[in-house]
Symmetry: C2
């Protein structure tokens, strides 16, 4: 079943200890939709400028991603540049040019509005709420998204009003601490579950991920890559693998017993997609990645975690 | 079957964000032997001064720990004091008084020498080697130990000569990086396996632990405690749980298929004991801890990691 994805399409300049790229396709919506496309039909809502390259459009199309909701307007595409620390656990933003993204007012094409799955990439919480409200309430089965420190700090009330309606929130560990005011992640998750989301997934980078529901939790360590070339997009690829897998399996939160198993597997698939993303710069790994490789790595996770 | 444990008995002064204790029982040998005592007969080799309190002796004896190898000499017991950072991921040593520990020349009582399991707590690598050589080679099934940054940095050759003879090395993540010269832990483990040990267990504090053998590895996330009162001794408690469980099950490295399963479970039991240790100051949690609680937490690990 289809997954609607909303977020940024961008060009990124990135420097890691392994190299430097001055301009490459990026943005949350890009990574999410590429990752999710291995599992389900993806329909994106995003905005780009006149400089958006045909080959980048083709990459998305080649993965079967529905581009009807991709708006093209005069001006330049969102641009971001950043540099990673030596251990790649931190990054500094060097430049953010919103460009056409500054005027982004997401409008869902009519046939998107009845889809059952919705993933709201990291954008201004008010916009996320607008999109959520455009979905036909009866058909929507599972909706949620991602956020970031900037919105938590400076748009807190708007963010709280937004995530109150979500089934799931994806968030990284430092942001979970910031949002909840709790240093301990188990306590942080409890506080966030009180804010509305029925499911909280905390991403811990190389240390893996945690899934919290009211009465259970699940923890998976990170995949041990020998070389991390570029972590850009890993969190969004996680989100795409997570939501894509659930959409593929027709996940329904109401049926809890099945749900619990599928949610855990979705976290593993998220981890798998996040790990592949780090193996090359930008979206390059997605140019050759196959579903067989994804499923093989899922089994690897089983192999190095079971006891 | 019996586990021989060598290491420090000490008095510690510790400050964490949860409180401050001016003098409490500590030392690697103490935590290792208390943790291992839930699984197997433990025989310790250590040294204390005249100030070693009868009630501390009684605590060890109450856990059935064989104290024949505990030497008492004139002078004061090893004293260490330290303070933890707010998130308890770092600690600074304020004071180290070796006292009687400076003259420690471990001598194994004759009936220790034929035991099958040996765990060498973190002491000067030359002393660890002396102890290893006192064991009757024919009876010894599984021997290894722990080390620390100080020996890696300033006693490297001696340390390498020592661990070359070990079946297993327990080491934390930053020390594994220092010993191997590799920032990536999977690469670090490969390098360390080339140094001699057939098994390398890398402890990652709150993030869990990893077990490496030449052809396989295993990763487990850390137990999610809501309150960490005092991490002192957690790594040693891990070591005691790990080696104690293997001794209880008559682990034999030669029989690899069984070995692989038992080693993974030993890592879980190590994690369980390390997590309990953090729940109270110093050794206090061991005053009431039961085997039933330990086994229940082992099952909890299964519950939050299986998918």
């Amino acid at each position: 079943m289809s997954l609607v994805v909303v977020g940024s399409l961008a060009y990124d300049a990135v420097e890691t200890p392994h190299g430097k790229v001055d301009r490459m396709l990026g943005g949350a919506c890009t990574y999410i939709s590429l990752a999710a496309s291995y599992f389900t039909q993806v329909q994106i809502v995003a905005i780009v400028g006149e400089d958006f390259a045909p080959e980048d459009n083709d990459l998305l199309a080649s993965r079967g991603i529905d581009l009807e909701g991709l708006e093209r307007v005069p001006g330049k595409t969102f641009f971001w540049s950043g540099v990673y620390s030596d251990d790649m656990n931190d990054r500094s933003t060097l430049q953010t040019d919103l460009n056409v993204f500054a005027g982004f007012q997401p409008k869902l094409p009519p046939r998107y509005r009845t889809q059952p799955y919705l993933l709201l990439g990291n954008i201004q919480p008010g916009l996320q709420r607008t999109v959520r409200s455009q979905m036909n309430g009866n058909g929507l089965r599972f909706a949620g998204g991602d956020t970031m420190n900037f919105w938590i700090k400076d748009f807190r009330d708007e963010l709280l009003a937004t995530i109150r309606e979500w089934d799931f929130l994806l968030i990284n560990d430092s942001e979970a601490r910031m949002l909840s005011g709790q240093a301990n992640l188990k306590r942080a998750a409890k506080v966030i579950l009180e804010m509305g989301p029925k499911i909280v997934v905390i991403k811990r980078g190389e240390y893996g991920a945690m899934l919290f529901q009211r009465n259970s939790f699940f923890v998976v360590p990170g995949y041990l890559l020998e070389d991390v070339f570029d972590p850009t997009g890993a969190g969004d690829s996680f989100a795409g693998g997570f939501a894509g897998y659930l959409a593929e399996h027709g996940f329904d939160l109401e049926h809890d017993q099945v749900g619990r198993r599928e949610l855990r597997r979705a976290v593993i698939y998220g981890s798998v997609l996040g790990s592949f993303c780090c193996e090359k710069f930008g979206v390059d790994r997605f140019r050759t990645l196959t579903r067989d490789e994804i499923d093989a790595r899922f089994e690897e996770f089983r192999g190095f975690t079971e006891f």
